[in-house]
Amino acid sequence: MREFFQRRGKFRPQPLDESGELQIPEDLWVKCPKCDEVIYSRELERNNRVCPKCSHHLRLRARARIALLSDPDSFTEWDRGIATEDPLEFVDGGGPYTDKLARTRAKSGEGEALVIGEAMLEGRPLVLAVSEFEFLGASMGSVFGEKLVRAIERAAERRLPLVTVSASGGARMHEGIFSLMQMAKTVAALARLGRAGAPHIALLTDPCYGGVSASYATVADIIMAEPGAIVGFAGPRVIEQVTRQKLPEGFQTAEFLLEHGAIDLVVRRDDLRATLTTLLDHYQRNAPPRPVEPLAAPVAVGERADG
C-alpha cells in the first residue's frame, strides 16, 4: 500500500526548531511541481502553499494545517507523550524499525504521524486530528490509531465536531497486523461518535490511500477533498502493474472522486475555513446544548495488548 508515493515528487522537509515553529531558510526558492514556476518560499507559505500561478495545492504539514484551521493560540495538543513500540522487532532493507523511527522523529520534528487536539475555529470549538505525511508517509500504526481513537472518544463525550485531515500512504507495514487492526479500531470509535450525535468532517488531502482511505477517512458525515488531491484504494503504480492498463487522465483526483459520487465537496484551501465554519454552524443550529465541558478532559488510557 505504500509503494505508490515513491513515484511522486520528493517532499522537502522543513525541520522544526525547539519551540516547534517552522524554520524556513530565508533564501529558499520552491519550484511548483505542476507548473514549474519558481516561488519564493515565504510567499508560498503566506499563500498556504498554494501556487500563486496555477493554484496547485502543495502538501501542507500537519502544524501548518492546524494553524490554518484554528484561531490563533487556540489549539491544545493532546497525547504528545504516546510513543511507538516495535512489536514485530521489525527489520527490513533499511535496518531496524526503531532506528527508522528515531531518524524520522529527528527529520520530521514530530513524535508520530498524527497530531490531535482541540481548537477553536472562528470561535467554534472542534476536535482536530491531522496526519503528518512527513512521518513515514503518515502511515497508520498503533499510535496513529490510538491517538485518533482518543480524539474521537473525547469528541463523542463532549459532543464536539471532529475534523480529520488525512494524507497517508496507508497502513504502516512495520507494525504488521496491528496496523491493519487500526482500521477496525478507528471506525468502531466513529460508530460511537455518530451515536453521540457529533459530526465527523473529513478532509482528504494529497495523497490518501489504502488503510486510511478505506477506514476512518471515508466513514464521515461530510467528505471534502482539496483540488487535485490524489485519493484511492490502491496506488496507480500497483493498478497499472496488476491490470496492465493505462490509467485515464485525472484518475483518482479529487475531481474524479466528486464525479464518481465518492465525496461531497472539493474545497480550495482558500475557502476551507469559511466552508468548515458554515458546516459547524449547521451541525450546531438544531442540536441540543452540549454537555458542560469537564474542567480537565480525562485522558482515556488504552489497555495494552501485549504487556
Binding site: M173, G176, M181, G211, Q252, H260, V301
Partner: protein, 294 residues
C-alpha cells in the same frame, strides 16, 4: 516478543503456511457451507450495480439456528477462479456484504464470516466505484452490528479486503491460515524492492495463526493436525465445532430476543478492538525530538 501460549510443538516456517493457505485443493467457503449447514440460500447482488462472485452471502441453518453467512469464495480451477476473481472482491461485493449485514440485524440472524482472499480487487473499475469507501462502510457496519458475529480465516486473510468482513465478536483462524496487512509478495516489494523475497517477508511480518494469537488479534486457533487439503472433512468439522461453541457462548451472553443485549454486545465488541495495538504512554510532555523508542 513471545508468541504467547500457543501449543505448537514443531512450528512450520511462515512461508510453508503461506503455501498451505493458498493450496489450490484447500477447502474453500462453499465446501464449508455444504458440510456444515443446511438450507443454504445464496442471496445475490448489492441492489445498486452488480453481483460479485468473489464475495458470497446468504441464509443457512447452522447448529439449530439460522445464520447469515458472508464469505470470500475462491475457485477450484482456473475457470472458476476467473469467475470468482481469485477471491478478490469488488466494491459490489462489500456492498452486498453490507446489505446482508443489515438484513441480519433486521431479522436477528447471527453472522458468520469466512475469510479467504488475497485482498480486495485492484482495478480502474473498483476505484471508480469507490473500493475504499465500500470497505470502510462494511467495517463500520460490522463494528456496530446489533447481532453476534464470528469470523474465521480459513485460508488467506489479505489486508483490508479480508478485514472488511472480519470485524467480529470472535475471531478464529485455522492453523495454516495467514492474516496480514499486505501479501508477502507486496511486503517484499516494499521492504526489499524484491518480490522474490516473499518468504523472508512472510517471516518478518508475523502473519501466522500462532503469531496472531500471541498478539491478541485472534481468539482461537482451529488445529490442522494434517493440512486442510489432505483431510478436508475433518478440518471443516473441527472448524464447525469451534464456530458452534463460540456461537452458543455468544447467544447465551447476548440473547437474540433481549433488546438490552445489543448495547452490551456492541460495548464488548468495541472493547475488543479498542485495545488492539501496541504503544507506550509517557507523561504528556514536550516531545523529545529524535529520542529512541527505548
Amino acid at each position: 516478543m513471545a508468541d504467547g501460549g500457543t501449543p505448537e510443538p514443531a512450528p512450520l516456517a511462515a512461508w510453508d503456511r503461506v503455501k498451505l493457505a493458498r493450496h489450490p485443493q484447500r477447502p474453500h467457503a462453499l465446501d464449508y457451507l455444504r458440510e456444515l449447514t443446511t438450507n443454504f440460500v445464496e442471496l445475490h447482488g448489492d441492489r445498486v450495480f452488480g453481483d460479485d462472485h468473489a464475495l458470497i452471502g446468504g441464509l443457512a441453518a447452522f447448529d439449530g439456528c439460522t445464520v447469515m453467512v458472508l464469505a470470500h469464495q475462491k475457485g477450484g480451477n482456473t475457470k472458476e477462479n476467473i469467475d470468482r476473481n481469485f477471491g478478490m472482491a469488488r466494491p459490489e461485493g462489500y456492498r452486498k456484504a453490507e446489505r446482508l449485514l443489515r438484513h441480519a440485524e433486521k431479522f436477528r440472524f447471527p453472522v458468520i464470516a469466512l475469510i479467504d482472499t488475497p485482498g480486495a480487487d485492484v482495478g480502474v473499475g473498483s476505484e471508480e466505484r469507490g473500493q475504499a469507501t465500500a470497505i470502510a462502510e462494511s467495517l463500520l457496519t460490522m463494528a456496530d452490528l446489533r447481532v453476534p458475529s464470528i469470523a474465521v480465516v480459513i485460508g488467506e486473510g489479505g489486508s483490508g479486503g479480508a478485514l472488511a468482513i472480519g470485524v467480529a465478536d470472535r475471531m478464529l483462524m485455522l492453523e495454516n491460515a495467514i492474516y496480514s496487512v499486505a501479501s508477502p509478495e507486496a511486503s517484499a516489494a516494499i521492504l526489499w524492492r524484491d518480490a522474490a523475497r516473499a518468504p523472508e517477508a512472510a517471516a518478518t511480518m508475523r502473519i501466522t495463526a500462532p503469531d496472531l494469537l500471541g498478539f491478541g488479534v485472534i481468539d482461537e486457533i482451529v488445529p490442522e493436525p494434517e493440512p486442510a487439503h489432505e483431510r478436508p472433512r475433518a478440518t471443516i468439522q473441527a472448524t464447525g465445532a469451534a464456530i458452534a461453541r463460540h456461537l452458543r457462548e455468544l447467544l447465551a451472553a447476548y440473547p437474540l430476543d433481549d433488546p438490552a443485549a445489543v448495547d452490551r454486545l456492541r460495548e464488548a465488541r468495541y472493547r475488543r478492538y479498542r485495545r488492539l495495538g501496541v504503544w507506550r504512554d509517557e507523561a504528556d510532555q514536550a516531545l523529545r525530538v529524535g529520542s529512541a523508542a527505548s
